[in-house]
């Protein structure tokens, strides 16, 4: 991860940095209070750079505050998912035997659960809200990372340095954390970055269906109101286009960032594995 970054991860990092700054300093950046009512359906103007929605809230301010919720959900869920997936993959791959069978069985069961409907059902039962949305996203999203990490650990396990450590009497926990973890660091990082992108997409989908964070503004919920409250029919392009662009842009940012260490094969995510190698060369 050190050294010269390719063009792609740099662009990704720049996009994400801009988003992060907007989210952190939302009260300073946003021109108005996004919850304040005003004149509805205003077209973009100097007073409202991106116009207003059906209850007269400033859309630019909504977007800036929305970045907070979308990023918090994306990053928190991705962190939890990646940590859990890596832990399961490491344990399963290194320990092998019964632990492997049990953990992979569990992984396969969770992999077979249809993710979006389960998330929808869970949020429907638990009620909308930041915590429940994150919980529901996490429940099924860790499986991919667990599998990828496991297969990488299975390869690493056969390498001399691990065998030597074992022969020298190093305990499994020591080998796992001291030797294996640093070696899968890049892989885990890439998986984590991709997890943020897919968690943000999941949140956008949930919020679009009206199951997101009740009350708090997110990009998905702006789109929800724009779609279900006549933004489309009335041709309010300033209402529905910006959240769509924001979601796509941030997902693009994370996908670009995931090219960060694409020099060698196994650590690479499949999405454009071949392209990444060329960009880094």
């Amino acid at each position: 991860m050190t050294g010269k970054l390719g063009l792609r991860p740099r662009i990704g990092a720049a996009i994400l940095l801009a988003l992060l700054l907007a989210a952190v300093f939302a009260p300073l950046v946003s021109p108005l209070d996004p919850y304040e009512f005003g004149i509805p359906y205003l077209e973009p103007s100097a007073a409202h750079l991106l116009g207003t929605n059906d209850v007269g809230q400033d859309i630019l301010s909504e977007l800036v505050y929305g970045a907070r919720v979308s990023l918090i959900i994306g990053v928190t869920a991705a962190f939890a998912v990646t940590a859990a997936g890596a832990a399961v993959g490491l344990t399963s791959g290194y320990w092998g035997g019964k632990a492997d069978v049990a953990l992979m069985g569990l992984t396969n069961v969770f992999m077979s659960l249809p993710a979006l409907p389960l998330t929808v059902v869970l949020v429907a039962y638990l009620g909308p809200g930041l915590r429940n949305v994150i919980l529901a996203i996490c429940l099924t999203a860790w499986t991919g990372t667990a599998r990828v990490v496991r297969s990488r650990v299975l390869q690493l396990k056969e390498l001399p340095f691990v065998k030597i450590e074992k022969t020298l009497g190093a305990g499994p926990l020591y080998v796992m954390f001291r030797h294996l973890l640093p070696n899968i660091g890049e892989l885990v990082f890439v998986r984590g970055v991709l997890a943020v992108a897919s968690a943000m997409l999941a949140e956008a989908g949930l919020s679009f269906l009206g199951l997101g964070t009740a009350g708090a503004k997110s990009w998905g919920s702006i789109l929800h109101y724009a779609f279900f409250r006549g933004g489309l029919v009335n041709g309010c392009y300033w209402w529905y286009l910006p959240p769509m662009i924001c979601i796509s842009l941030s997902v693009t940012g994370f996908l670009l960032l995931s090219y960060v260490g694409e020099r060698r094969g196994p650590a690479a995510p499949a999405a454009g594995a071949a392209k990444g190698r060329r960009a880094d060369a």
């Binding site: 077979s112 039962y125 269906l209 489309l232 769509m244």
Partner: protein
């Protein structure tokens, strides 16, 4: 929920085993042994699938019972529950009995399993109609949308991916990769909204949603349905296409450096022959596996698209059931979707067993 493609789980084996049509064909004894091995592998996969379905049923059972509050609340809705509690508590007891929520938990579980095995999912609390009929009808509509889209996407995405992976930086790679990459970042509902805006609102070329105008019969009805499904199917095809493309491209790119490809090249085989006979043959297994797994997800993956185009499929049903707090319906939908994913995974295993000589001989796996 979109899952970004990973390296295929079944990676092509290295070494001489990867040679197509390698040793092992021929005498009867080994054939019989191979068949037995294949069947036993399939049997263990089927057992795992059954276990997964059992888990899904258990999750369904647990969801409604371990949520905070009286489970009946989730069936009738909070407001009505409070009203009933005040006016006629015996109605609540009747509902409890109807939905199998009385008695001890193990007894409830046994009863629930028995009912599920009989495909008796009760009646929807919202519409009072039997849940099963509605769910099956809606599933049909989703399949009508999903099957052609998946097939079309697999062919287009697979073919483009094959070419792009084979010739890195070639015409297919340079033109398709940016488009497919862009599609990867667009959420399904955004693409659907964009299509709806452009083709329905602006150009007026397609209907705003639904499945048919009604009042039509025969060929006219079929045409009308086709006209209605054009946009949602196009959106689904594009989205599927991009992930199929990415997968095929990365698989082919990794196969390109295999020794058997080099050998075939040095023997002077034509590029077309190497592509179809060697590369495609080896790339097909991971591709089919992923295709089947994706198809399981398409029942749910088309959810956002269905909602945007108000296509009366499974995803729309889930959306309506959530809005109407129709939990018996929601549970059944969830079970169906889960069962579909499991069935498709099993199908993938069976197909790979059937077509891959390496797995057939019990060589890898």
């Amino acid at each position: 929920m979109r899952v970004f493609p990973e390296r295929p789980a079944t990676r092509p084996a290295e070494g001489p085993a990867a040679w197509p049509g390698g040793p092992g064909d021929g005498d009867r004894k080994s054939f019989r042994r191979a068949l037995a091995a294949r069947l036993s592998r399939l049997g263990s996969k089927a057992a795992a699938a059954a276990l997964t379905v059992f888990c899904i049923v258990s999750v369904n059972f647990a969801l409604i019972r371990f949520m905070p509050g009286d489970p009946v609340t989730h069936i009738v809705g909070e407001d009505e529950y409070l009203m009933l509690e005040a006016s006629s508590p015996e109605t609540i007891e009747a509902i409890r009995a109807e939905y199998g929520l009385d008695g001890s938990l193990p007894a409830q579980f046994a009863a629930y399993l028995a009912r599920t095995a009989r495909l008796d999912f009760g009646s929807s609390y919202r519409t009072k109609g039997p849940v099963l009929d509605t769910a099956l009808r809606r599933m049909k509509f989703t399949l009508l949308l999903a099957v052609p889209s998946t097939a079309l996407a697999a062919v287009i995405g697979g073919a483009l991916g094959l070419l792009a992976g084979w010739r890195k930086g070639g015409l297919a790679d340079m033109t398709a990769s940016p488009v497919m990459g862009l599609l990867q970042t667009v959420p399904a509902n955004c693409l659907a909204i964009a299509f709806l805006l452009l083709f329905s609102f602006r150009l007026g070329a397609f209907p705003l949603g639904g499945i048919t105008e009604g009042g039509l019969t025969g060929a006219e009805k079929a045409l009308d349905i086709l006209w209605h499904m054009a946009l949602p199917a196009a959106v689904l095809t594009l989205l599927k296409c991009s992930s199929d493309y990415m997968l095929m491209k990365s698989v082919v790119a990794s196969l390109r450096d295999e020794e058997y490809v080099l050998t075939a090249m040095s023997r002077g085989y034509s590029e077309w022959r190497i592509l179809t006979g060697h590369v495609l043959k080896n790339a097909l297994c991971p591709f089919i596996t992923s295709l089947c797994m994706q198809f399981g997800y398409i029942l749910s993956g088309s959810m956002l698209v269905e909602v945007v185009f108000s296509w009366p499929g499974m995803g729309m049903l889930v959306h309506e059931s959530v809005a109407g707090k129709d939990f018996p319906m929601l549970q059944t939908c969830f079970l169906f979707m889960g069962a579909c994913v499991v069935a498709c995974n099993l199908l993938a295993d069976a197909l790979v067993l059937a077509i891959d000589p390496r797995v057939r001989e019990g060589g890898i796996g």
